[in-house]
């Protein structure tokens, strides 16, 4: 009876997984065919006329438009995640030592972009940029920098939220011990605090990257003249794909790019899982060693 339940549960899980992956997998299957739409398998060319070809991949490598969008996306994601991580980590560290009321105010404001709708963040920033540009600078402010600010607003609060719990776990006496041992405050921060909150900083950074990669609305509102081309507006993968699927099917070259994105994402997920498993094993053996050492020290005393 229990096994029947388990079979039912497992099939429920796998059916849902299949449904979630189906659209992406279909795109990947059709990336080996030169048809313009999904569902029509064009034959007559490729291996033995079966339609199995790598033409779409060739087109992908030749496409300047996609190359530029991809480059922009990566540059924006990395730079905004770096700035967001710096700002958010510093904010969390500073707020940790502030008075309770100051911290509460900062945390309340920090929560606004987290719960707010993206479209409001985008609209309000854009209106402000236009206003400031008209009144103070007398020029159009929209550029890479406005886009960067937009993405940082989106992601820095999440970095803050990721770093904060790690700070709360810190042993405050370690920092004071470092100061007593003649370390300057900045050295103590670098050598004592940063290494301990590093996991929080890293997960904040990864989250910032994923938010930036996924963003459409803020990019569409706040981007200015192109980053890699120097003209038009900055096109990222999101805005590029959106402009295409609004009118028709996903461009054939994007199907090929989907294959690569999918492989990359799955690779990262597998790597992350293995890394976590190894760390968990090593961590447990390490802590048991420490426990033994502690026990020994206790016994000696």
């Amino acid at each position: 009876m229990v096994t029947f339940k388990k079979v039912l549960a497992q099939s429920f899980i796998w059916i849902l997984l299949a449904l979630i992956y189906l659209p992406i997998l279909l795109l990947i299957v059709w990336s080996f065919n030169s048809s313009t739409v999904l569902g029509v398998w064009q034959t007559g060319n490729g291996v033995n006329g079966s339609g199995l070809t790598g033409e779409v991949y060739e087109a992908l490598f030749r496409s300047e438009e996609i190359g530029r969008a991809l480059g922009n996306t990566v540059i924006v994601a990395l730079s905004s995640a770096t700035v967001a991580t710096l700002l958010g980590t510093m904010g969390a560290m500073g707020a940790y030592y502030c008075k309770r009321r100051t911290t509460a105010i900062i945390e309340a404001v920090n929560q606004i972009p987290v719960v707010n709708a993206e479209v409001i963040i985008a609209m309000s920033l854009t209106v402000m940029f236009v206003m400031v540009g008209n009144i103070i600078f007398h020029e159009n402010l929209f550029s890479f920098w406005t886009l960067l600010i937009g993405h940082v607003v989106l992601s820095a609060p999440f970095v803050y939220l990721n770093v904060k719990p790690k700070l709360l776990q810190l042993d405050p006496s370690l920092y004071e011990a470092a100061l007593d041992l003649n370390a300057t405050p900045s050295l103590a921060v670098r050598k004592v605090i940063i290494p301990q909150i590093l996991p929080g900083i890293l997960s904040g950074f990864m989250l910032a990257i994923s938010l930036s990669l996924d963003d459409f609305i803020v990019t569409a509102f706040t981007s200015g003249p192109g980053l890699l081309s120097g003209q038009g507006t900055i096109v990222t993968l999101s805005t590029y794909v959106q402009s295409k699927i609004k009118k028709g099917p996903v461009p054939a070259e994007m199907r090929a790019l989907t294959t690569f994105i999918f492989l990359l994402v799955v690779g990262i997920a597998v790597g992350y899982t293995i890394f976590n498993n190894v760390r968990a094993k090593r961590g447990s053996s390490h802590s048991s060693k420490r426990a033994k050492a502690l026990a020994r020290a206790e016994g000696r005393r």
Partner: protein, 266 residues
């Protein structure tokens, strides 16, 4: 004394950043919401919003689609999270990761993939705008609902469920009287993760319904591109109020639970 200041100092750039790019833009939105095109104080946008049937329709449709999407996501994600977190039914953590992995693929691309698949089987924006949009919404927001529910389900008190069974509850009663109350914080935070973004989404409704369904996101985008800043700002303000009310509602349920909700960690 100097040391104490040095420890607090890093907060300054972040505080300045929050004031300049979070608080100030919202104040500007409020300013535009209550002025007219000439910059004088007026309730023009407010009156227009509550008398213009297209804008009220947008509010109504957004609430409706947000509600049904949240409901559908919860109906699918709740049993799924329960099954995933139950060691008797599943002890493979990798399956949980598999549900999260698609979130790393660009969501516009995923929406495009969904659009093509749907038009292949004959559901396109021209013929079935609502069905197509709902499928796209559930497809996109399901992972966001699974995670908070999963993390609550992991903490379910199994002995309590056993006790309910021992004391003569049938499975339905156990479910209603024990499992649902125990996982309520997860349900509320999952619903929040789903409801808010659905109401204000732009890409999914725009592409999957061929522009036939206007949600808050689409409407704000439209008024902005038509340079109707006052109207757009007022709509943003209405959305902001809805966000705020939902927050208050959520607070009531999750006050006594741990701060690390599933939403914050992804």
């Amino acid at each position: 004394m100097r040391y104490k200041f040095a420890r607090k100092a890093p907060v300054i750039p972040y505080a300045v950043f929050l004031i300049l790019f979070v608080i100030l833009p919202i104040l500007i939105i409020i300013y535009y919401a209550f002025t007219d095109a000439q910059g004088y104080f007026s309730f023009e946008s407010l009156v227009e919003f509550f008398t213009n049937t297209t804008k009220l329709d947008v509010l109504f449709v957004s609430l409706l689609i947000g509600f049904f999407n949240t409901l559908l996501c919860l109906i699918i994600a709740f049993p799924l999270a329960y099954v995933l977190a139950n060691p008797k039914l599943n002890n493979n953590y990798v399956l949980v990761i598999l549900f999260v992995v698609p979130m790393w693929i660009n969501f516009v691309l995923r929406t495009g993939a969904m659009k093509e698949m749907l038009s292949w089987i004959g559901i396109n924006g021209g013929t079935h705008p609502i069905t197509a949009t709902m499928i796209g919404m559930v497809y996109n927001y399901l992972p966001f609902t699974i995670l908070p529910l999963y993390s609550t389900m992991l903490k379910l008190d199994r002995s309590q469920i056993e006790a309910a069974k021992d004391l003569g509850c049938n499975p339905l009663q156990t479910f209603i009287k024990n499992i649902i109350p125990q996982s309520l914080p997860g349900i509320v935070s999952a619903g929040m993760m789903c409801f808010m973004p659905t109401m204000s989404s732009y890409v999914i409704s725009d592409t999957l319904s061929d522009g036939r369904i206007m949600l808050f996101g689409n409407s704000i985008y439209l008024s902005f591109s038509q340079l109707d800043w006052n109207g757009g700002s007022f709509m943003s303000l209405v959305m902001l109020v809805i966000v705020f009310l939902t927050m208050l509602f959520t607070r009531r349920f999750s006050r006594n639970t741990d701060p690390e909700r599933g939403g914050a960690s992804w």
